[in-house]
C-alpha cells in the first residue's frame, strides 16, 4: 500500500537527533515493550509481514506522531484484539476478568534459544528458474497493487542493474495474506540521478533487494 510509512526520499525533515548517550530506550515502558516482543510471548501467528502491514495501517497522523515503540504497542494491542487474546472492552477498561498467571520467566539459556530460533533465513526452494541474471538491466514496476510491498515509492518505474541473485526468498506481498511462497530475489543498483533527478550526485547510487515480480526487463 502507498502509505505514509514509505518515507524514503521524502523531503522537509530536519537534522537527525543523535543521542550522545546512545540510549536505545527513553522510557521504561519502551524497554518492557521490547522485552515482551523478544520473549516470544505474543504468539507465533504474527509474522514479520503481518506485523509490518499492521503498522502501515495506522492513521497517517498517528504514524508520524507516535514514537517507534509506541507504534509497536499500538500495533500489538490491535493484533492481540484481532486474534482474540483481548476484547476491545478489556482494552478500554484496562482490566480483564480472566485470570492469567504470567508465564514462568525463561532461563537465560532458554531466552537465548528463543532468540536464536527467531534468526532464520527467509531463503526457500522455488521451482521456477530465475528470469534475470547478473548484469541485466531492469525496470521496476510503476504500480504495486499488493497490500504490502517492499518496493519503495522512490524506486518505482526506475531503471537499474542487477548485481546479485540471492535465490528465492519468501515474498512479503503474499506472506501478508498468509501465503508463504518463495520468489527469486535480486540486489538491484540504481544511480542517484535515476532516482532523484539530474541534480543528484552521479557518483552515488542506491542498492535495493527486489523480488522478481517487482521487475520487468529493461
Amino acid at each position: 500500500m502507498d502509505g505514509i510509512h514509505d518515507l524514503g526520499g521524502k523531503e522537509g525533515f530536519g537534522p537527525i537527533s543523535i543521542d550522545p548517550d546512545d540510549n536505545p530506550f527513553h522510557h521504561d515502558w519502551e524497554e518492557r515493550m521490547w522485552a515482551i516482543a523478544r520473549s516470544g510471548a505474543l504468539g507465533g501467528d504474527i509474522t514479520i509481514d503481518w506485523f509490518r502491514h499492521s503498522i502501515e495501517c495506522m492513521v497517517p497522523s498517528d504514524y508520524l506522531a507516535f514514537r517507534y515503540f509506541q507504534k509497536w504497542c499500538t500495533t500489538y494491542l490491535m493484533l492481540l484484539v484481532d486474534n482474540g487474546t483481548f476484547t476491545m472492552d478489556e482494552v478500554q477498561s484496562g482490566k480483564t476478568d480472566r485470570s492469567a498467571a504470567p508465564p514462568a520467566p525463561l532461563s537465560l539459556d532458554d531466552a537465548l534459544a528463543v532468540n536464536r530460533a527467531a534468526n532464520y533465513s527467509f531463503e526457500v526452494e522455488c521451482g521456477a528458474a530465475p528470469l534475470f541474471k547478473l548484469g541485466d538491466t531492469i525496470m521496476t514496476r510503476r504500480h504495486m497493487d499488493s497490500d504490502h510491498t517492499r518496493l519503495p515509492a522512490y524506486a518505482r518505474g526506475a531503471c537499474g542493474e542487477i548485481i546479485a541473485h540471492h535465490g528465492a526468498h519468501l515474498l512479503p506481498d503474499k506472506g501478508v495474506h498468509g501465503i508463504h511462497e518463495g520468489e527469486h530475489l535480486y540486489t538491484v543498483v540504481f544511480t542517484a540521478p535515476e532516482l532523484w533527478g539530474e541534480a543528484a550526485d552521479p557518483r552515488d547510487s542506491v542498492a535495493l533487494e527486489l523480488w522478481e515480480s517487482y521487475l520487468v526487463p529493461g
Binding site: F13, S17, D19, P24, V206
Partner: protein
C-alpha cells in the same frame, strides 16, 4: 539492537536521498573521489560494513583491531576509526 536515530523519521526519510548530508551530521566528511552507495535493506537480509583499516595499525592482532571498531562504523555512519581508542 539498532540505535534510536536509526529508527527516526529523519534518518529513514533522508539517508537514501542525501547520504552525504546525513554523513556530515555524523561527522563524516568524504573526499571528492569517494562514491556513496546506500544499501536500503528491503528484504530479510542484513549487512554489516567492514570498516577500512586505519593507517598506523600495521602488525596489530585481531583483538586490537576489533577494539577500535565502533557500532556506527559497521552501520556506515562512522568512517575513520580512531586508533588512539585502543
Amino acid at each position: 539492537m539498532s540505535p534510536a536515530w536509526y529508527k527516526s523519521t529523519e534518518y529513514r526519510a533522508r539517508s537514501a536521498r542525501e547520504p552525504r548530508k546525513v554523513l556530515e551530521e555524523f561527522g563524516v566528511h568524504l573526499d571528492d573521489v569517494v562514491a556513496v552507495r546506500v544499501w536500503d535493506s528491503t528484504a530479510e537480509l542484513r549487512y554489516i560494513v567492514v570498516p577500512e583499516r586505519p593507517t598506523g595499525t600495521e602488525g596489530w592482532d585481531e583483538e586490537a583491531l576489533a577494539a577500535i571498531v565502533t557500532r556506527n562504523s559497521m552501520i556506515g555512519t562512522d568512517r575513520d576509526l580512531k586508533i588512539e581508542a585502543a
